[in-house]
Amino acid sequence: MNTIWIIARKESAQMLRSQRGMLWLLAFSGLLSAFSLLLVSTTELSLLDNAQVVYMMAGTVLAAGALLAVILGSDTYAGEKERATLVPLLCAPVAPDALLAGKAVGMLAAWGVMFAVATPYLWAVGASGQNLGAALFYLALFGTPVVLGFGYLAMALSARTGSFFGIPAQYGHIADAGRKSAGHRTRSARHCRRTHLGRDQPVCRSAQHLR
């Protein structure tokens, strides 16, 4: 659990402190600003009722969240490999599942940041009506699984394509974790397990002596 938290902390800090994360947030704010301005300044759009305006805005936030999940997810392994930061991470005592979970929690934190950035915009276009609270509630309720789903799918693909192209065959464990997370147990993963268990390797005496 501690490892998951440590990885998640880095992932969310990357969103707020790295140049790429800041650029993403800036682009997201720009998109919401433009959309809000359009909603309040265009005569035809200003005739829409409050519920339509608020839910349209919430839909935009959700779409941007899904896009972020895909970007972050695909960067999870392929991007880290490209920047040569994946190997040091894999050399650390981190179980593949913990790495995947940490990345997913980090993605949720990034979604939380986006949600916080979007709230004032939603308030600006919907404060005059009764729909703001419900829109925020539904955005959190449906947005979170959408972000997680898209993110997991992108992560699994990122891990899998990485191993497909043969570059990081040592990341096979991660690819397996990605496949598992996407609900697949592929032939390759089964083969990998057979390779581990079927040969005449010595049985580990105990894990305790290593501590």
């Binding site: 190997v87 040091p88 002596h209």
Partner: protein
């Protein structure tokens, strides 16, 4: 600490490791030598449990990497060949974060001390993205040491470092290995690093261990010492030579001498001694060291089949 017997490892159906043997005991600084694509990095990945191996036996710190990879890695500090960092972080934050992955929370003082040790104390608060390659190498060494490992695995640790930086890294490794309980596996193609640091070596080529043993013993078997080529003003008196020096031959005005063990004051003491014995030396050239000869004689035997392991 590491026992590898007849390790074979296929990648995508192709056998990359075809018989690796490696034995590292506590207190050893083991130099793993071999040309590019020989299988050094693949061996490291196999012993960290990052590669599933085909057959053979691997035991690292008493555990099997196939079953206990995470527990093994908890006691192993690794410096991979490519030192990747998060460019937006600063070095102290990065080391604290990385130490946390080992369930080891280094204090501010631990981190500051480590950065001082690797010569990055003054640069600690700059983002890592602004570091030069050499500075990143130093930080990678700090990252490998921060968890206070029992076993240190370094892949080309002095690549890209200036002579001063190399010396500092050497000193750090000597200090790490000095307690006699820890082990160091040094993967390199720089024979000078091996000569200075290692007491045991293994030479691998084309996925096979060609030679393994104590460096001193292997060099003694090989003939030992260092060979020099000297140009002299006149023919020397070959009957009156200092101890440990032998004439190895003569060719086109050059005299070849084999120096079994360098004198304590360094080679210059030896030249003074020879000069005193009426050797009018005009020019001195260093020839390949015995380690280099040892390396050359055990590598490149079946190069046409050698291939780069996909890492």
């Amino acid at each position: 600490m590491i026992n590898i017997e007849n390790l074979r490892l296929p990648i995508e159906g192709k056998e990359i490791l075809k018989g690796i043997d490696l034995h590292l005991r506590p207190g050893d600084t083991y130099g793993l030598l071999g040309p590019n694509g020989a299988g050094k990095s693949t061996t490291i990945f196999a012993l960290l449990g990052l590669r599933a191996f085909g057959s053979g036996r691997i035991s690292v710190l008493g555990g099997n990497p196939a079953d206990d990879a995470v527990f093994i890695r908890r006691s192993v500090g690794v410096m991979p060949e490519k030192a990747g960092f998060y460019d937006w972080m600063i070095a102290p934050d990065y080391l604290k974060w990385y130490g946390g992955l080992y369930d080891f929370a280094p204090t501010k003082q631990d981190v500051a001390k480590m950065l001082e040790k690797v010569g990055l104390g003054a640069e600690a608060h700059r983002p890592i993205g602004t570091y030069s390659r050499g500075m990143k190498q130093r930080l990678a060494v700090a990252r490998a040491l921060i968890s206070r490992p029992k076993l240190l695995i370094l892949d080309e640790p002095t690549n890209g470092l200036d002579p001063k930086g190399r010396r500092e890294i050497h000193d750090l490794l000597v200090e790490f290995a000095s307690d006699g309980k820890a082990g160091v596996l040094l993967c390199t193609h720089l024979l000078d690093d091996v000569d200075r640091l290692c007491n045991r070596i293994g030479i691998i080529d084309n996925g096979r261990t060609r030679l393994e043993g104590s460096l001193g013993d292997l060099l003694a078997e090989q003939g030992g010492g260092q060979r020099y080529r000297l140009r002299l003003e006149s023919a020397p008196d070959t009957t009156n030579l200092p101890a440990g020096v032998a004439i190895a031959g003569r060719e086109g005005g050059w005299w070849y001498v084999q120096v079994q063990a360098a004198p304590s004051g360094g080679p210059s003491t030896l030249w003074h001694e020879l000069w005193r014995r009426d050797w009018k030396i005009l020019e001195i050239r260093s020839e390949a060291s015995s380690l280099e000869e040892l390396y050359m004689s055990h590598t490149g035997q079946d190069r046409p089949h050698a291939q780069e392991a996909v890492l």
